[in-house]
Symmetry: C3
Subunit: 434 residues, 3 copies
């Protein structure tokens, strides 16, 4: 299978999932997870409103059925039915008649893009606003008031929905893979990552026989990840490596954000992934802003979490606007990102730690039939070293602490050429896997 | 208050304390401490002669009432009443008549400065000598002998006098501040440091509400500091940072001598102090020679001890001579040095260690009313960062081990701009002081 | 004694030991150790064939009484009596008549040196071959077959012979010195090292009063060293420093192979040895190939093992051929190498660790009569420092962990100039040996 064969299927999911009006909570989130269950057997958890999770409290559940602004002639100037983004997420119910001067402060336009509806949220504010294009703003301004302003929303105790899929590997050591399901009709920010994560999970499931256990987390950003951490504190505390998948479907450049410890091997693995794939990329240092790596990297967990992205959040002009749509995001871009994540996971899976089972003195190579046929001949595919040389170094350095990548790095040899040799030593029983 | 307002008062103390004939022991030392008690409530301890302190023994007490060299006509060619330095400190009593050839080896002149009387000591030697200018030496040489040579001194069991002032702070962690009171009529070497230390102690007392506890030590150099360590071994063993104050009143350049561990934060703090004050300076590496940092840095204590100075000991030509006098040392120079020490102590006092009380996941800033009014705006006074940014980094990095200076250093932001933000987080209860 | 006086004696042993047909096992090995017992009281251990040692098994004992290739006229074309090297070591018995096509694959020639008989071994292969010069090969090729081919050898249970000499020093800390006795008539590879090790052992015995205990090991390479490790596992695990002595008698350049940890002090000591002796040299990094440092450096032991050599194995054209003979190796070259090993051991012996017995505050130098006569005068022989200065630094840095070499390195002073000062401090009781 090559990932490009997935493009039509990914395109289909993009189109089905894009219109849903996701938020921190609500039916659209449940629907989103339900659709993803076609791909992977997600388990879904509902966390009741009011549940305290560390410094936070799970908010009330939000629903919206309709919203509009009409002029004094009853003409709808703005109708939420035309765009989820017209009403700021978590807006409280409104049913008022007001003139321009009262309405105007409630209208939000994009500061730079006149044709875009900005994406705004009011999660913990008990407030409301409409988001409109510059043109719509002008239309309302010159229309006849007073205006009928209606938001038919509801904010009441309910629950927040978390999705989880743990793909058991041979080892109980886990890789955390997280994406966020809380953005309505944002194609690059959030949705592209959600789709990539789901397809990544399906691909890894199909492969089976994985070394690591992969914990896929589909949750609302921030509060959802926080709740997830609170309910899986002991598991997350044990995790060493995390991937936060987001903004992977834009037309622009690839990039990756480093984990908080720039010397952690995961950063080297990402760089090797780009290098091996021949893909240029922007490198972003770790930053305290960003997505849910904020939670996973916090003092209590300190998971080294990276993000590979394509048109990273904050950086593309269409970010958090109605222009972050299906004109901007394409299935082939997501697929290209998926390919990189798969390559990275290949590298992780290939990251094995061996221990020499005969630590005292040398292994008697002939006894184990380990004298290479071509003996000491230097081979270009082994970085100009001989197979015998690499066998001896592997036995010398495989002390149960160094991964084979570390050994390769130390020997300045590609890990790929070292791996089959180590496998042979493993089969012969002179190395063992830790 | 600006320190410059202290200049007249400092000048007065310089003039009152300069003439006293201090030595390792004796009445002039007691008088010196007694005068300093006008500034700070020094407690004074007498250590009896013969007391063993580590590898040393407290010497007999020395007193001198007069001393002279007269020619055969009874004319006084040298009279101790004219300069304390004419008799080497701890000279034993003498009352002899001798000719030039016997007297000459007893005359010490300065090797480089013909007009200076050198300062010499004979502490543990049971010997005597006169110190004279080159001109006086010539006068005696051509005068008529035999000479009457009298040193009316006394060397007998008594005690060594130590002064101490412990200024209690909120924390029991101590900063050691030490100066030496054993030099007679040396203005820069010893006296300038004694006066600075006393005024520094008074300034800190007046401020009150100090974080650290400050242990001021006024003792004879070497034997006094050694005795002080012996009697306060457990306290000094716990000290991390020390300041030895000396030679702070010359007309020349500022300098500082590093502590034995050049990576210790105190060295960075001193450099920041000079930088912030815009004061150029010479940097001296740690050296095994010097003053009482020799005791405090020894293996038993390993206190990282620095010295800020102005015309450092060894380096100015007038060092250890009668030219190290009130023409050389001025109150305004001492005041300028005092200003640097106060700035350094400000830095030390501002060196606080916070711990995030919500280590797992992010703090919910809105719940604690911590979203900055100007949100994410980049502010030049915050090093081009936003307040929000610094809040998040502080929470991320304040792990109970890094001081806020370390955090500032890591973020490349001035600690001054970080401090009020940390204080706000402290008040809100999300950070705590360690 | 200068080592050059040893040249005639070393030459004698070279000539006596060179002809013996050493191998992994056998009478020639016993004879070799027996001759070395004239120099040092070696204890000799026999390890029975079949004994398992770690991953290895001690092989059967090999003996050879004669071997030849005769043409159809009964003319001996090759006769083992003329060179030990004519038969590959551990060749099984043969008594066959064969024609050229069957014989030819059994003939080994040197790939580069037409006039040399190559040295080949078949230790664990149960096979046989003849080694011949290119000229001999041609002679056989054009001679009349069929050929009578005889190897009158024997391979049967017996034992492997190990020699050991432990020279007890004041400390139980051991230096491991190892050489290999398994090469027949190879003058530089193996024999030069065996002779050097024996003379080194005798020289150290004669000196007596050594600080370290020296464990000299005379064993077959690889299997012998492995067996020795297996029977002395706990001792070898405690060893920090090892010397593997081999190829020390060539006409070419000196070199040394670093230990696996290039920051280990032994490497600095070797470099200082070359420097002090004014001897240029090649530096070889640690490599997993080589001699018995492979065993001693293995994970179970991690002894930092170096080799000083002169015409190192692998590098000289005559290596593993009949040209590695007494024309190539001379007693004076071995003696020059011995001189370097003795210098290195001097450095090791002089590597002492002091501890200041007065860790709190300064030592009162005058009380211990330690004020140097020439006081603070800078002395070129002390690296431009004064004796006083070095006394103070020694007291400051001698903390029971740093060796005096470390102190010298830190002070950038020659250890030789520091040693007498430290001795003085030791005599006075202010330093003690750890």
């Amino acid at each position: 299978m090559t990932v490009t064969s997935l493009i039509p299927e990914i395109r289909q999911y993009l189109e089905r999932l894009f219109p849903l009006n996701r938020s921190l909570t609500g039916e659209a989130n449940r629907q989103t997870l339900s659709i993803l269950r076609e791909l992977i057997p997600l388990s879904v958890h509902e966390v009741p409103s009011g549940t305290p999770v560390y410094d936070w409290i799970v908010p009330d559940e939000w629903a919206i059925r309709g919203a509009w602004i009409s002029d004094s002639h009853g003409r709808r100037l703005i109708d939420w039915a035309e765009s989820n983004l017209h009403v700021a997420s978590y807006s409280i119910p409104v049913n008022e008649t007001m003139d321009w001067s009262a309405l105007e402060p409630r209208l939000q336009v994009h500061p730079e893009l006149p044709d875009a509806i900005p994406y705004r949220t009011l999660y913990y504010n008990r407030d409301w606003s409409f988001c409109v294009t510059r043109g719509q703003y002008e239309t309302i301004r010159v229309a006849d008031g007073p205006f009928e302003v209606v938001i038919d929303s509801e904010l009441k105790p309910g629950s927040m929905t978390l999705g989880e899929f743990v793909l058991q590997g041979r080892s109980s050591e886990e890789i955390l893979i997280s994406c966020y399901i809380c953005h309505p009709s944002m194609a690059n920010d959030s949705l592209s990552g959600v789709i990539l994560a789901a397809f990544l999970a399906r691909e890894l499931s199909r492969r089976g026989d994985l070394k690591y256990t992969y914990r896929f987390v589909f949750v609302p950003e921030t509060i959802g990840a926080i709740a997830y951490c609170a309910f899986h504190e002991s598991e997350i505390k044990k995790v060493d490596i995390g991937l936060v998948i987001t903004t992977v479907g834009g037309p622009g450049l690839f990039g990756y954000k480093k984990s908080f410890d720039p010397t952690h091997p995961i950063n080297r693995l990402v760089e090797e992934t780009f290098h091996d794939a021949g893909v240029g990329h922007i490198t972003y240092p770790f930053d305290i802003h960003g997505s849910d790596e904020r939670q996973y990297s916090s003092q209590g967990f300190r998971v080294n979490t990276i993000t590979i992205c394509k048109d990273r959040y904050y950086e593309y002009p269409e970010y958090h606007s109605s222009l972050d749509n299906l004109d901007f995001v394409k299935a082939d871009a997501i697929t290209a990102s998926l390919d990189l994540y798969l390559r990275l996971i290949d590298k992780l899976e290939n990251r094995v730690i061996y221990r020499n089972r005969i630590p005292c003195c040398e292994v008697m190579l002939s006894r184990h039939d380990l004298y290479p046929a071509r003996g000491g001949a230097q081979r270009p595919e082994l970085g100009g070293r001989s197979e015998l040389d690499l066998i001896l170094w592997l036995l010398f350095l495989s002390d149960g602490r160094r991964s084979i990548d570390d050994v390769a790095h130390e020997l300045n040899v590609g890990a790929k050429s070292l791996r089959p040799i180590a496998d042979k030593l493993l089969k012969k029983g002179v190395l063992e896997l830790v």
